[in-house]
């Protein structure tokens, strides 16, 4: 079971236009996050958001441009907290416009894989006893995880603040 993030979107615009939106600091600050990005291999830059659990708590993501092959492929290193990952964008011409694939890999890969394997039933005892027991406890409030508000509020706020209605975009 894979532990990476792998998303493909198709936009009804030519690749040059999508590439421009991916490689302009100004554009990125509109659709992604405030940043000091420059389209130059080796450039170190940061994205800044409000503290957000999924970005590594302090909301600062430290990146470097590792590869740049206009208008086809761009690779960033992406570190937040002690998470050290790689983000790769690849663009491909499609009948409907441009297909953009975004992959984020390196969540101490094997560890994340083990997590998903255990939770997805690779270990029957966990699935059969422990997890249901834990979920039961959580449901009755005994030894429950902290209320979502305590740990996910920033994330939700951030997502909520940025989320807009979807247009006709294919996602698979």
């Amino acid at each position: 079971m894979k532990a990476d993030i792998d998303i493909t979107m198709t936009y009804p615009y030519p690749a040059d236009r999508v590439w421009a939106a991916l490689t302009s600091s100004e554009a990125l600050s509109v659709w992604f996050m405030p940043n000091d990005f420059k389209p130059a291999v080796g450039h170190h830059f940061t994205f800044r958001a409000r503290p957000f659990r999924a970005l590594g708590f302090d909301g600062i993501v430290r990146c470097q441009v590792l590869e740049l092959d206009p208008p086809r492929r761009m690779v960033w290193s992406w570190a937040g907290g002690s998470i050290d990952t790689t983000v790769t964008f690849t663009l491909e011409q499609a009948a409907e416009g441009t297909r953009l694939r975004m992959r984020q890999v390196g969540f101490d890969g094997l560890g994340a894989q083990l997590t998903r394997r255990i939770l997805s039933g690779g270990y029957p005892r966990i699935l059969g006893q422990r997890l249901p027991a834990y979920l039961g406890q959580a449901a009755t409030g005994l030894d429950a995880p902290p209320p979502p508000d305590q740990c996910a509020e920033d994330g939700r706020t951030l997502l909520g603040a940025f989320r807009r209605p979807h247009r006709q975009i294919q996602s698979r």
Partner: protein
């Protein structure tokens, strides 16, 4: 709650992943956990301490032995964290679509 980063760091080590796999099968005392690992009991205990601090493992006393057990909540929280990050990307890539539609 342990930081997600600590959890990933705890999982980054092969010996600790091996310990987790053993504990996924059954609760075990340190003596049993040493099988399959070519390291000292002190080293195993040190790895278990890191796993406990990361919230991935818990310990309980039973008779003279201390049994270690997997803490599924720790793993669930890690998976939720990954899911949250994935949602974040989905939302941002949808916003890119909006931006492309609005940009001159």
């Amino acid at each position: 709650m342990a930081a997600t980063a600590d959890r990933f760091a705890a999982l980054a080590d092969g010996s600790r992943r091996h310990l987790l796999e053993q504990l996924a099968a059954a609760d075990r005392p340190v003596s049993e956990l040493m099988s399959g690992l070519d390291i000292s009991q002190a080293a195993v205990s040190q790895h278990l301490r890191i796993l406990r601090e990361a919230g991935l493992v818990a310990a309980r006393k039973q008779g003279r032995h201390r049994y270690y057990q997997l803490r599924p909540a720790g793993l669930t929280e890690l998976r939720e964290w990954l899911d949250e990050l994935e949602q974040f990307w989905h939302a941002r890539l949808a916003a890119l679509g909006d931006y492309l539609g609005e940009a001159p």
